[in-house]
């Protein structure tokens, strides 16, 4: 299925958000996530199913004012 991660298209078979993130190299990283504009807590990622066309946002701590 195709999913979009931070705007980039990926072809990936992953049943859940947690599995997709692991496959994309995010395992163990300090990140926060949303799917289709809805916040998904770290603890909820293993239960969050993914569907074709889902838009995932992955953010990390960054410099800010």
């Amino acid at each position: 299925m195709k999913i979009f991660v931070n705007g980039d298209r990926h072809e990936l078979e992953a049943a859940t958000l947690a599995l997709a993130l692991a496959a994309l190299g995010y395992g163990g990283k300090k990140i926060a996530t949303a799917v289709n504009g809805q916040f998904v807590a770290a603890a909820a990622r293993p239960q969050r199913p993914l569907s074709d066309g889902d838009r995932i946002e992955v953010v990390a701590p960054m410099q800010g004012g």
């Binding site: 993130l21 990283k29 992955v58 701590p61 960054m62 800010g64 004012g65």
Partner: protein, 257 residues
């Protein structure tokens, strides 16, 4: 001084963006004496390391983190960003920015009040980036904010305190709400002026980060904020229109013809 029950000795909060290097950032933060640093959330790829490296730096400082919703233009964006920040940084604190105008980065005060209400109801402790508008401030307090952060001038503009009267009125109207001048300061005298008005603290970033010597400027701001605070506590004299000789006239020698 305390924000939401957290006691802080330093009245300077400092941003972490736009420094020439991570090493200068680290030294400037140290020189500022700040106990709170602002941070943001930005996209990172699976192979990216920038966010993780920055997070290691923040952890090494041991300082309290105030995450922001910088760049958000809608209530939904800001609220979702706040949720992500709480998940990531494990803090109820959020510097709430809902921006309307891209030229001045002036906040959308209507969206700001709405987002502040939503987040407060969800248990967040909101630090709203607002204007010096008294009625908006009143609405923010009504929404549950127990800190207000009016701008001095547009973010990154170095213009100082654009509306001293407005800031003064805000201070008089909210004697018990911690007030922080956030944004627009350029030089330490601007920060000292804010503190002399009785403001509780100052939040800075660009003025330090883009100085020729950010470390020296961080220290200069820290001293100015301390001086301004001391001056406020020492109760400045009232200005007057005409001169008043400081040297007594009594006992002056009669040297005329």
């Amino acid at each position: 001084m305390s924000f939401y029950g957290v006691e802080l000795a330093s009245r300077l909060m400092i941003g972490t963006a736009r420094y020439p290097s991570p090493a200068v950032l680290a030294e400037a933060v140290k020189a500022s004496g700040a106990e709170v640093v602002t941070v943001s959330l930005r996209r990172e790829s699976g192979s990216g390391r920038a966010g993780q490296a920055f997070w290691s730096f923040v952890q090494e400082t041991g300082l309290r983190v105030l995450p922001n919703t910088a760049g958000c233009h809608t209530v939904k964006e800001a609220v979702t960003t706040a949720h992500m920040a709480r998940d990531l940084f494990d803090t109820k604190w959020i510097k709430l920015e809902v921006i309307r105008d891209d030229e001045t980065l002036q906040p959308d005060i209507f969206g700001l009040v709405e987002a502040a209400r939503v987040l407060t109801d969800e248990g967040f402790e909101v630090f709203p980036y607002t204007t010096e508008d008294l009625v908006v401030a009143d609405r923010l307090v009504e929404a549950g904010c127990r800190v207000l952060m009016p701008w001095g001038a547009p973010i990154g503009s170095a213009r100082g305190l654009n509306n001293v009267y407005g800031l003064r009125v805000l201070r008089a109207h909210f004697p018990d709400i911690p007030l922080v001048v956030d944004a627009g300061l350029g030089v330490p005298s601007h920060a000292a002026a804010a503190m002399e008005l009785g403001y509780d603290a100052v939040l800075l970033n660009t003025a330090v980060a883009e100085a020729g010597d950010p470390v020296g400027m961080a220290r200069a701001f820290a001293l100015a904020i301390e001086a301004g605070r001391m001056a406020h506590l020492a109760r400045p004299m009232e200005p007057r229109d005409m001169a008043a000789p400081s040297t007594p006239m009594i006992g002056k020698a009669a040297l005329g013809d």
